[in-house]
């Protein structure tokens, strides 16, 4: 496997509903002190240029479509890093009425990087981890395979949909227009929070 992808990880950073603690740390990792550019990291701010999607904060009803659209506009091979505990699981906001949980309720996540707030070292570590997945995806792509069989997408359950009266698990809602639904192997069970439970609230 060559490292064509991993040598140039360009990132895009999106703030779900973070308290901005993680955002500050994500940007801190790009500053001279932590110097993520050593690994070729460039903050592009544009999904069409980016390889790695850094999401901070939990995902709520308001930004669910936004996260999905940005993810869909990124071109394969691509990776998602959930930065901070809110992004990983919803954190302290997981029970809030409008919060659907971590980023993996919206899109497949490849690397979970916990912390409150996340430390810049963790961000860099997560990016390096994601680089390995990028390389794997690229190898699969070139072999004519489906990149969605690699990383988080392989075991993703489709997340949740915004239903008429609340959140519905995508697997139950018929996995309509959830991203990558046709390619993902809906294994379920990776999430410890069935979305249906939310709906009951």
């Amino acid at each position: 496997m060559d490292h064509k992808m991993s040598r140039s990880p360009w990132v895009i950073h999106y703030d779900g509903s973070s308290c901005n603690g993680c955002d500050i740390e994500v940007l801190a990792s790009l500053t001279p002190l932590f110097d993520a550019e050593r690994f070729g990291v460039v903050n592009t701010g544009n999904p069409k240029h980016a390889d790695i999607f850094l999401v901070t904060g939990s995902v709520n009803a308001q930004n669910l479509p936004v996260v999905r659209q940005i993810y869909n506009q990124m071109l394969e091979p691509k990776c998602v890093v959930a930065c901070g505990i809110c992004a990983c699981s919803g954190g302290v906001f997981r029970d809030a009425y409008n919060v659907i949980g971590g980023v993996d309720r919206a899109i497949p996540v490849d690397v979970y990087a916990p912390g409150c707030a996340i430390r810049p070292e963790t961000v860099i570590d997560a990016i390096v981890e994601a680089c390995g997945i990028l390389d794997q995806k690229e190898a699969v792509l070139r072999a004519g395979g489906d990149p969605l069989t690699v990383g988080g997408a392989a075991t993703w359950d489709g997340g949740v949909e915004l239903g008429e009266s609340g959140f519905v698990a995508a697997a139950e809602a018929g996995a309509g227009d959830a991203p990558a639904a046709d390619g993902a192997v809906a294994a379920g069970g990776t999430s410890d929070e069935p979305a249906a439970a939310k709906e009951a609230e």
Partner: protein, 960 residues
């Protein structure tokens, strides 16, 4: 001879036919047959001309006398028409001028007609220039008449619809309209083939009155007002013409163009007197060519139906003015005050009209300003009176005729089908009217993009001004071209937008309109491709005949290269080979885009359309600011010339112009050399450029106190981009980007092979245009803003880059980069100020902070990457490669200033290049982004100050 009579008189037949024919079908038949015959005869005349060469035709004195009486009668009838209209619409000023002209015409007739000995033996002629004009008028003019047949149906239908809404009926004046168009063609043929100034004047006045009647066609108050503006200004010119004729006759001078030129060579007291009539005739020509302060009539004339604008106000009638000046141009060198008047008025008009065009959003007004501006450049060239400049002027006339008529006709058709002539409403035209838009883009490219004819002519003009040491004109041209680039560029960008949801609305365009449009477009490409032939077959022989010297403006090899590139662009634009099969994706709209085209979910939950308007810079370049200033200055210049004639002894005004011709001619390295250079550049520049980029990033990191990326990081980035999955928001952007990369590489190849630096600079500009197209075609608002800024940056640095070539020329007497190696000292010694100007704009050109307005590689200031927003994968990789090549090329421009005929100099140049780049990185890391205003001010400021500083010595040199 008979053919010439036939050519002149035949258009009257369809004109009469139009008046008699009833119904659309009869009119169509008359129009098509008439136009067809005119075109055929034109071609026959041209072919015969090639057989016989230039000749004058004798007319029997009796016939000639009768014809003179006839033309006097026509003059009087025309005055009557004017007076009738002045009375009907109660326009006092027109009345007064009409009476003056009537009295003048009668007095002149009374003076000349009895004097039978004054009858000229050969009042008609056909030389190279006339042949060019006959072809242009005959073919383009007839095609416009064909176009008018279909167009006027839509026009009338629209009028009737409007009138019906008001409960009235719209009178059908189409027969008169079409008849006037054919009458006009006849008058134009008279103008371009008459040596007898009396007859020429008759044709001149017919065109004026035709234009008057056609502008007033709709009879709306605005149309009537503008028609009277036109007639008043043109009658001033007509009266000046008449006064010139009377002066000639009064002093016993011949009433023919050839006679005047013969007389000027005599060097007698009588020949010195010629200065007055030359000034008066030039004044008449300037009014007809809509130069400042008379330009307002052409702007007002845009209310007329589009065929009028195309025929009279861009392609032919205004050309009558410059045609007369072409004929008088040998005299401008002999009588410097006349040359000064024509050149200065033309130069000021060229620059100011181009700037004012930037502030316009009405397509027809932009076209009008651009016409005025181009006629200004033509006049400026002609005023120089050197064959080099006249060469450029003739090509400007030819290409402007073809390209501008195409544009007018396209705008006319577009207006009927999208319901607006506002450029802002042409968003997404590429999808709404695909074929028409491509023709329009071709026309626009023909107007300003290298290597199409117009730009080649401008190039010729620049070379001519450099060769004749005309410093102020060099400056005006450098700035005027940059302004021209901006207003055409933003229009082109607007047109290029691909809108996948658009409805095709061009299905019911009339067949006659398509015929005319396609033929003129083909003609445009043909003219560009046959450009070397036209130069050697028509223009050079004409100049050899008139000036006794064949100018050497553009090398043969450069011409062939340009022919290839024109063909290439035409293929890219007009065929469908470009269609890419990448998966389609929507544009980026911050993650809130909806399924609808260019819509996003607003903060209040409803759908909003993302729109983007062009830059107009109205506060800086509005017509209210520039128009009056230009008019005042031009009035002053004209008055100065007239007062000189009146007060200073004529013998002191007649002297040979102090123009020193400079120039050694290198032929560059030839097509083969350029090809080898291009291959070498294509292989080496990306490697070197990528390495420079890597060093740049490493250096920046060190300046910020960090380790930074690996040295080869830029290569890793490109390798990565090439492996990304393909996707595109439209089918075009990748192709445009590929073109941009190719043109940059060719530009570099031209430079490293030691060929023409001007051609190299034009190639880089051409590449910039294609980047803008690639970006604007995506219809992403972010990318479009970036594209606008890119255009603005190009406009900012363009003058300094052109001056760089002039600086090279100044030192080496050649535009070829190889010439520096033959110098005994580096050219920076001669062109230090220009070198400084180039250094100052290098930051803009390398897109370094504070001028990374459109896109920065480091993206440390642009949030969504401006111009590159919608580019991904391979397309973005191409852009990166292109930037690397540009970096290498620009640094070589810097190095060029330090090379001389010593091998050590190459090391010096390398050191200077390295130092320059280091300073650029330093600047990049030190300054925060500035505004486009400061970019523009810096670019133009340094070019103006340092350019003038550097070039001034030549101006003084002549007198020492």
């Amino acid at each position: 001879m008979t053919l010439l009579y036939f050519l002149t008189l035949f258009p009257l037949v369809p004109a009469l036919g139009m008046l008699l024919a009833r119904g659309d079908r009869a009119r169509d038949a008359v129009g098509l047959v008439g136009s067809g015959i005119i075109m055929a005869v034109t071609v026959v005349v041209a072919v015969m001309f090639f057989g016989t060469g230039p000749q004058s035709f004798e007319v029997a004195p009796g016939t000639s006398h009768v014809l003179s009486i006839f033309s006097s009668v026509i003059d009087v009838i025309l005055c009557a028409v004017i007076l009738y209209n002045a009375y009907k619409y109660r326009n006092a000023l027109t009345g007064v001028l009409g009476v003056v002209q009537l009295v003048g015409s009668l007095a002149f007739a009374a003076m000349t007609l009895p004097a039978t000995e004054a009858v000229t033996a050969t009042p008609l002629y056909l030389d190279y220039m006339s042949a060019i004009m006959v072809l242009a008028v005959g073919i383009v003019g007839s095609l416009i008449c064909v176009y008018a047949l279909g167009y006027m149906k839509d026009f009338q239908a629209h009028d009737e619809h409007e009138a019906a809404l008001r409960g009235q009926t719209a009178p059908d004046r189409r027969p008169q309209f079409l008849a006037l168009m054919f009458l006009f063609l006849s008058a134009m043929f008279v103008i371009v083939t008459s040596d007898n100034l009396e007859w020429l004047f008759c044709g001149w006045e017919i065109t004026t009155v035709c234009s008057f009647l056609m502008i007033g066609y709709t009879r709306t108050p605005e149309a009537i007002k503008n028609a009277f503006t036109q007639i008043i200004l043109n009658m001033l010119g007509g009266i000046a013409f008449l006064a010139g004729l009377m002066f000639l006759h009064f002093n016993g001078m011949p009433l023919t163009i050839s006679g005047m030129i013969e007389l000027s060579g005599a060097g007698t007291a009588q020949s010195a007197l010629l200065v007055m009539p030359v000034v008066l005739l030039s004044l008449a020509a300037l009014t007809k060519a809509a130069q400042m302060p008379f330009h307002t009539w052409l702007l007002g004339a845009m209310v007329a139906p589009t065929p009028t604008s195309a025929l009279l106000h861009s392609s032919t009638m205004v050309k009558a003015g410059v045609f007369l000046m072409v004929k008088l141009s040998p005299l401008y060198a002999t009588y410097p005050v006349t040359g000064f008047m024509v050149t200065s008025v033309g130069a000021i008009t060229f620059l100011l009209a181009a700037l004012m065009a930037i502030s316009q959003s009405n397509a027809k007004r932009v076209l009008a300003y651009s016409t005025i501006s181009n006629l200004g450049l033509i006049s400026a060239c002609l005023g120089v009176g050197a064959p080099e400049a006249v060469w450029a002027a003739i090509f400007l006339i030819l290409f402007h005729t073809v390209a501008k008529s195409l544009l007018f006709l396209c705008v006319g058709t577009a207006e009927h089908h999208i319901g607006s002539r506002n450029i802002e409403d042409m968003d997404g035209m590429f999808s709404r009217m695909p074929h028409l838009t491509r023709l329009m883009m071709l026309g626009i490219m023909g107007m300003f993009v290298a290597p199409f004819g117009m730009l080649v002519s401008k190039w010729g003009a620049l070379v001519a001004f450099a060769q004749t040491g005309n410093v102020l004109m060099i400056m005006v041209l450098a700035f005027g071209s940059a302004a021209t680039f901006f207003f055409w560029g933003k229009w082109l960008a607007k047109l290029s937008g691909v809108d996948p949801t658009a409805q095709n609305v061009e299905v019911n365009v009339h067949k006659t309109e398509w015929t005319a449009l396609n033929t003129i477009a083909a003609l445009l490409v043909l003219c560009c491709v046959a450009f070397p032939l036209i130069s050697s077959g028509l223009v050079s022989p004409y100049l050899a005949m008139v000036f006794g010297r064949v100018p050497h403006v553009i090398g043969k090899d450069a011409m062939y290269l340009m022919v290839v590139i024109v063909a290439f662009i035409a293929v890219v634009l007009l065929t469908s080979f470009r269609v890419s099969n990448k998966p389609h994706v929507n544009v980026y709209l911050s993650g809130v885009g909806t399924e609808s085209y260019r819509h996003f979910r607003g903060s209040m939950g409803h759908e909003v359309k993302a729109e983007k308007r062009n830059l107009y810079l109205e506060d800086a370049l509005g017509e209210k600011r520039l128009g009056p200033a230009g008019s005042v200055v031009c009035c002053a210049i004209i008055l100065f010339a007239l007062l000189c004639c009146a007060w200073i002894g004529p013998e002191r005004l007649a002297m040979s112009a102090p123009s020193v011709l400079r120039g050694k001619y290198f032929e560059g390295s030839g097509v083969v050399g350029i090809f080898i250079g291009t291959v070498a550049f294509a292989l080496i520049a990306p490697l070197v450029g990528g390495l420079i980029d890597g060093l740049d990033r490493k250096l920046s990191a060190r300046m910020q106190g960090r380790v930074g990326p690996r040295l080869l990081q830029p290569f890793y980035d490109v390798a990565k981009l090439l492996r990304k999955a393909p996707a595109s928001v439209n089918t075009m952007d990748d192709t445009y980007m590929a073109c941009a990369l190719i043109f940059t590489v060719v530009g570099g190849g031209i430079f490293v092979s030691g060929s023409n630096t001007l051609l190299c600079a034009f190639m880089v500009t051409l590449a910039a245009i294609f980047v803008v197209l690639a970006s604007a075609s995506t219809q992403s608002p972010f990318a479009q803003v970036g594209a606008d800024r890119e255009l603005l940056q190009v406009m900012s640095y363009e003058p300094a880059v052109l001056l760089m070539s002039v600086g090279l020329y100044l030192a080496t007497d050649s535009f070829d980069s190889i010439a520096v190696t033959g110098q005994s000292a580096p050219i920076v010694v001669y062109s230090a100020p220009i070198f400084l100007a180039l250094l100052a704009v290098l930051t803009i050109k390398l897109r370094k902070s504070p001028f990374d307005l459109s896109y920065s590689h480091h993206a440390h200031q642009e949030i969504v990457q401006g111009i590159a927003t919608e580019m991904s994968g391979g397309t973005l990789a191409k852009m990166t490669l292109m930037h690397w090549c540009e970096t290498v090329l620009f640094l070589m421009w810097v190095g060029m200033f330090f090379v001389w005929d010593n091998p050590v100099s190459w090391v010096v140049a390398l050191v200077v290049m390295a130092a320059t780049y280091f300073v650029e990185v330093l600047i990049d890391n030190t300054f925060a982004r500035s505004t486009w205003r400061s970019c523009f001010k810096l670019g133009w400021g340094v070019a103006l100050v340092f350019g003038l500083l550097n070039l001034m010595p030549i101006l003084v040199d002549v007198f020492i």
